[in-house]
Symmetry: C2
Subunit: 152 residues, 2 copies
């Protein structure tokens, strides 16, 4: 069973976001081993540049060979294309990491080191909602790859 790791910055304050993520985690449990790594927001700094650099160092500690960075300027894929990407990665890797930056985005270092940049479109999403959308898309990808009908 493939390992999927989501590396994100900051926790989910509102219970409804946590419940939404739990629901998808539950659904995903039959397809993959999912691990969510929540890094601390570096809010002890008041400088955005410094924040993303500190967060970036932590992010890169958790990123393996097969990683995707969520990035508004990344490559936009359809859900079917995301499913295809995941299918292909599972052939060559035992773990896929998805990275969601914090409120200030990510450092240039993270951008440089993670070559695969995935965009969910031109809209800006808050990090909590982006996490839910990512989980839903990963779930959708497994449903597509398993040939299941899924359009809820």
């Amino acid at each position: 069973m493939i390992n999927i790791k989501i590396v994100c910055v900051g926790n989910l304050k509102e219970e409804f976001w946590r419940k939404a993520c739990e629901e998808y985690k539950k659904r995903l449990s039959k397809f993959c081993n999912l691990k969510i790594v929540e890094l601390d927001e570096q809010n002890k700094f008041d400088n955005a540049q410094r924040i993303v650099e500190e967060e970036g160092r932590e992010i890169l500690n958790h990123v393996g060979r097969s990683a995707f960075l969520l990035d508004i300027k990344g490559k936009e894929l359809s859900s079917e294309e995301i499913a295809e990407k995941i299918k292909n990665e599972t052939l060559v890797s035992s773990e896929i990491t998805f990275v969601i930056g914090g409120s200030y985005g990510v450092s240039n270092d993270v951008r440089d080191k993670i070559k695969n940049k995935l965009s969910f479109g031109k809209i800006t999403l808050p990090h909590n909602l982006a996490r839910v959308v990512l989980l839903e898309q990963i779930y959708r990808a497994f449903m597509i790859n398993s040939g299941s009908k899924y359009h809820k």
Copy 2:
């Protein structure tokens, strides 16, 4: 204060989606009068074509002059561009309607009659999550238009 109406098909079964929507409704209450019209899913029919046609008739009963249809093949706008659209519409209209189709999409009739088609990117979203994303984007639009800092 502008009236914003969201016309959607089917209700939100999971409590966490309802709570997420309630949160954005609360936040939006200082910017607009928000009304969410939840139409019945036409699940008495077993034919997708018939379902979207029946749902389409109901949708069009609730759509005014200034309407946007959420459509994966629609025009992709950034959050700033959505904010600009909403600002411009408020100058000429007292109500803006956003339509989210049901599980089977919308009828050709709805597609023909609602000229403004808005896409949140190439990914397929389930209708419940699409509703949350839409509410967040409307909230973000008002925050952008009011000059507020908002990047949570």
